[in-house]
Amino acid sequence: MIVRFWGTRGSLPVALKADAVRGKIARALVAANGHSITSLEAADAFISGELDFATGGTYGGATACVEIESGDSFFVCDMGSGLRQFGLSAMKRCAEGHQRTFNFFQSHLHWDHIMGFPFFVPAFDPAAKIVIHSAHPDAEDALRRQQEEISFPVPFDWLRASIEFVAMVPGEPIEVDGLKVVAEKQAHSHDSYGYRFTDSRGQTVVFSTDSEHKADNMKDEAAFITFFRDADLVICDTMYSLADSVSMKEDWGHSSNIVAIDLCHEAGAKRLALFHHEPTYDDGDIQRMHEESIRYEELTRDGSALEVLCAYDGLEIRL
């Protein structure tokens, strides 16, 4: 399996501003002092070897969209603004012979998780087949509503692809193109659902975003430990600090980096991808959160190491 992150930001798309870019360039120039960099290749090697990610790169600003490459068809979790870039990539791959079937799995229907669909180019391809799996019975209503005239100029019925909605029942696995998929209900406004994907070799990816793990409900986390059990990769909502998630942002439907690490530790998961980044965070803030998460994992480890990754737009993980 290959996991590609097309959108990793929470709640609202964000973009780098000019002052942030200038700051990166300034830090890079200072770091380059004394180095002889006379070619683009040397510059690339310097960026990879000497600069931290917040200086030499960016976590990106598109909202949730994650591709899982497995089997002949496409698998996509959520339709955030990152879906547009995925759609363009998929069209290119289809032109090279890839099957034009798209299996979506929707965590929920909030705006930041569906806003990419009106810009999903394969939806205009009459040869494409789109199957939208969701445990929400109102998934079709949500997608049609955002393309009503008051919100968008192109109505849902103008889309040329074959579009089908499949209602999933939490806890009841289905098999789609060689992947076993099971949904788990999560605490979020209007509910959200996590998905556990397992291929024929037993490799497992869990997508668990927009999921709050509340301080007054910790006994219910046993279900998530089972859901995450021995996963090769768990993609987790880690939008807030724990302190924020239990105080001013309680009941906003999101979780923290350290709860995600604890759940993964307890479940024996191998890798955690921090996901659904707070939109007010700049690259430095997200990098700091990643470094602190790695440190917390070290401090509380009581068994096998958990690799803590920080998802960014463009990250590709090969399992």
């Binding site: 302190a243 604890d262 602190e292 401090l299």
Partner: protein, 111 residues
Amino acid sequence: MDFSCRSADGILVAAVEGRIDESTWEAFAERMSAVIDQAAAEKLSELMLDLSALDYMSSRGLRVLTMAKRQADAAGLTITLAAPNDVMREILAISRYDKLFHISDSVDTGQ
């Protein structure tokens, strides 16, 4: 996890030892709730939680502290976290719980 409690100069001092994680948080929650009830019954205004012998606390323990703080706030009781070791200080900083709780360097009850 071990938990003990003593009164000192009008302050209830609860000491916790070992680690608070997925296997011990429920016992810790029960002890914290009981000690807050005790402090409220004795009309005390402060509960000091002595962390000097605590190895570490995961998010399970931190969230118990949140529930304890809510119970304490309702009883007009202040909780102070005292003498955390270096590991626990890091965890309090990473979780930003150092912004939710008053942290004292020592178990100083003013005696």
